[in-house]
């Protein structure tokens, strides 16, 4: 039996099995608490999305609810932004609108008996269906239990109690097993907080800065044997990483295609018999 869920970063890092290198604190310290946005969970109930955000999957009520959920799973605190500020709702919105939400790479043939916890997810629902049903059921259950108020309008402590009840299976969500839905929310929040920012979450690489992950770096050949030295470089995302740090010369009359990039890649690889390789 798993212990009941208690939100917080320490718990989160245990869940994902991350070991925090000494450099994480260096990075976080360098970032400075002054630059952090104020913890936002107290305004979660009447949160408004960015003016330019366009939801692909969530309706307006769902967006508000998801914002409130992820803000409790990874709250903003003195170490930096939380999941909501890092755009995890946007991440989930895009994932659920796409192949993942539709059940890509997901074996969907029956029968669907209840399995053991070790046997993992065994519902016939796609992730998109699960979120749609689960979010509506969550708000319905909250309204019934807390005087007509949906999840997002509950106090933070009450929200935590609801989430803990979901995880423990004691907070019922109609037909949907609460623990299964909770696990899906937690997995999605962790993915959105730590996946590359190209997917819409981990905004400003907030998740990576928190744990000191350098991101999509191409090489650590020069750093690997520098022991006990803080790694102070900012992380890079797929969209911002230079394609190795090599210049690329393309004749002006030749279109720049990915094949040109392939040329570049090939030609950069050292020919091994020039470098004293053994045969």
């Amino acid at each position: 039996m798993q212990p009941a869920f208690k939100p917080g970063r320490r718990r989160l890092l245990k869940v994902i099995g991350a070991t925090v290198p000494a450099t994480a604190t260096v990075l976080a310290g360098a970032q400075g608490p002054a630059s952090l946005p104020a913890p936002a969970h107290e305004v979660a109930g009447n949160a408004t999305r960015d003016a330019d955000s366009v939801a692909l999957f969530f309706n307006h009520e769902e967006e508000i609810t998801v914002d409130a959920i992820v803000a409790r799973l990874i709250p903003a605190d003195e170490l930096g932004p939380g999941a909501k500020e890092a755009g995890v709702t946007t991440f989930l919105d895009r994932q659920l609108a796409g192949a993942f939400g539709a059940g890509a790479n997901f074996y969907r043939q029956g029968p669907f008996p209840a399995g053991t916890p070790e046997q993992g997810y065994q519902l016939p629902l796609t992730p998109a269906e699960c979120y749609r049903l689960g979010l509506a059921a969550l708000d319905r259950a909250c309204r019934a239990q807390y005087g007509g108020r949906p999840f997002a309008q509950l106090a933070a402590g009450t929200q935590d109690a609801v989430l803990a009840g979901l995880e423990a299976g004691s907070f019922a969500l109609d037909a949907l097993p609460g623990a299964v839905f909770f696990q899906m929310l937690l997995d999605g929040t962790i993915e959105g907080f730590f996946a590359d920012p190209v997917y819409g979450g981990n905004r400003d690489m907030a998740g990576w800065k928190l744990v000191g992950f350098p991101g999509a770096m191409a090489s650590f050949a020069n750093d690997i044997e520098r022991h006990n030295v803080p790694y102070a470089r900012a992380p890079v995302s797929i969209a911002t990483a230079p394609p190795h740090a090599m210049s690329m010369t393309v004749p002006p009359d030749r279109p720049v295609t990915f094949l040109a990039a392939a040329d570049e890649t090939i030609c950069r690889s050292p020919a091994s018999n020039d470098a004293g390789a053994v045969r």
């Binding site: 190795h244 004749p251 053994v278």
Partner: protein, 429 residues
């Protein structure tokens, strides 16, 4: 609609390590073999290039290189009194899809079986008594032992450019290596991986407690290496994206890097054999910059360089095929090409084509070569000037070949560049 293909000697199902090795061995012994692969062709370039490949969501969480569970998965249970259920998404054990198989996404941990692994039943029976095995447990010994397998392990190590420090060379313990390692006939072909901080701390602590920490043998090449098939591997740069990811650096051993190019380029070598005595009837490619072969093959494929033979061949090549072929030829030693006389019955254009773009035609008496007698390499550039790739004519004071060698150096950038201005522009029609 069914289509009948020419009969072959062997059909291999699955293009991973095993299929690739078996296919190559069959081909090397004169058999025609076809490998069927259910996934997509995947090559280090362009499919695994950074930074796009450094994507944990795609490769670790969404299993981009693993078997698609929507199509096929397997069931499991932890105890016999449970009902086995399908793993609807991978939770552990990652069977694979795509060319290269698990060779794409493995971490490269590269242990040999221990001698006791190969005689499981007799070893444990001898040590713990026959009661150690339940009656319905079907464990048994292999029909061969470690000593018989060692030459093949050794061959595989030199195929994949294994990195490590031998702990047991021909029965002699080597301080610093794995004290429990089975004997090896040769050292690892490459030195062990560099040790990061956390591993160094752990190793120091373990040693202080009387244990024998060692650096794990790895299928990641630690230096530029030419493997037993004559194929090049590059040195690992410690990017950290091994397990679940394809390697963009040609450092992690995979069928594509270590064997498939060698198994497929014989098709090219029918006409462009590396190391064949000069002059060959067709252009020599070995030692030419990879960029050269890429450009030519792309031109053939696009049709911008018309050729009935090469056009048809190139249309069947993927980007990954082209990249692999080019990299292979670039890695081969460049054959010395001395001054070439006229080929019997061949005119200037045919001679130039036959000798290849790196031909030295200084001794060729045909008047068409008069402009190129001192600049063998330049002949190639000039011959292709109409295709807008050329180098400016060097100043008269610079020895032409030296100037061109500098420009066409394999270690430099493009062998031939468009001139910014000047004589070469004027030379174009």
């Amino acid at each position: 609609m069914s289509k009948t293909l020419p009969a072959v000697d062997a059909v291999i199902v699955g293009g991973g390590w095993t299929g690739s090795i078996v296919g190559k061995e069959l081909a090397a012994h004169g058999a025609r073999a076809v490998v069927l692969e259910r996934g997509q062709p995947r090559w280090p370039s362009p499919d695994f290039q950074a930074p796009a490949v450094h994507d944990e969501l795609k490769y670790t969480r969404r299993h981009a290189l693993h078997q698609d569970t929507a199509v096929e998965t397997f069931t499991f249970r932890n105890r016999t009194d449970q009902t086995a259920l399908p793993m609807r998404r991978w939770q552990f054990a990652y069977p694979t899809t795509h060319l290269g198989g698990a060779g794409n996404h493995w971490s490269g941990a590269c242990y040999r079986f221990d001698p006791t692994d190969l005689k499981l039943r007799s070893h444990y029976t001898q040590r713990y008594g026959a009661g150690i095995f339940d009656a319905d447990l079907a464990a048994q010994d292999w029909p061969l032992n470690y000593d018989e397998l060692e030459p093949f392990y050794d061959r595989f190590d030199y195929l994949i450019g294994a990195s490590g420090f031998a702990g047991n060379l021909k029965g002699q313990r080597q301080p610093g290596g794995n004290p429990f390692e089975p004997w090896r006939s040769r050292p690892y072909p490459n030195p062990p991986m560099k040790v990061p901080f956390a591993s160094a701390l752990f190793g120091t602590a373990a040693a202080s407690l009387g244990y024998h920490p060692y650096i794990r043998p790895s299928a990641l090449s630690t230096r530029p290496y030419v493997n037993s098939e004559g194929l090049p591997m590059s040195a690992c740069v410690y990017c950290g994206f091994c397990s679940n990811f394809g390697c963009e650096h040609f450092a992690k051993a995979s069928p594509q890097v270590c064997i498939l190019v060698g198994a497929t380029t014989p098709a090219c070598a029918t006409c462009h054999a590396p190391g064949a005595p000069a002059p060959q009837p067709l252009p020599r490619l070995e030692g030419m910059p990879a960029e050269y072969a890429v450009k030519e093959l792309l031109d053939f494929r696009r049709g911008t360089r018309p050729s009935p033979v090469m056009g048809a061949i190139a249309k069947g090549l993927t980007d990954g095929d082209i990249a692999s072929i080019a990299r292979y030829y670039a890695s081969q030693p460049r054959a010395p090409i001395g001054p070439i006389g006229p080929l019997p019955g061949a005119g200037p254009a045919a001679t130039l084509h036959a000798l290849g773009d790196n031909a030295d035609v200084s001794a060729h008496p045909h008047p068409a070569y008069a402009p190129f007698r001192r600049t063998g390499l330049r002949a190639a550039c000039a011959a292709r000037a109409r295709r807008a790739v050329c180098v400016p004519a060097p100043p008269a004071s610079v020895p032409p070949r030296a100037a061109l060698r500098a420009r066409c150096s394999r270690n430099g950038r493009a062998g031939c560049r468009p001139a910014a201005a000047g004589p070469a522009r004027a030379a174009r029609p």
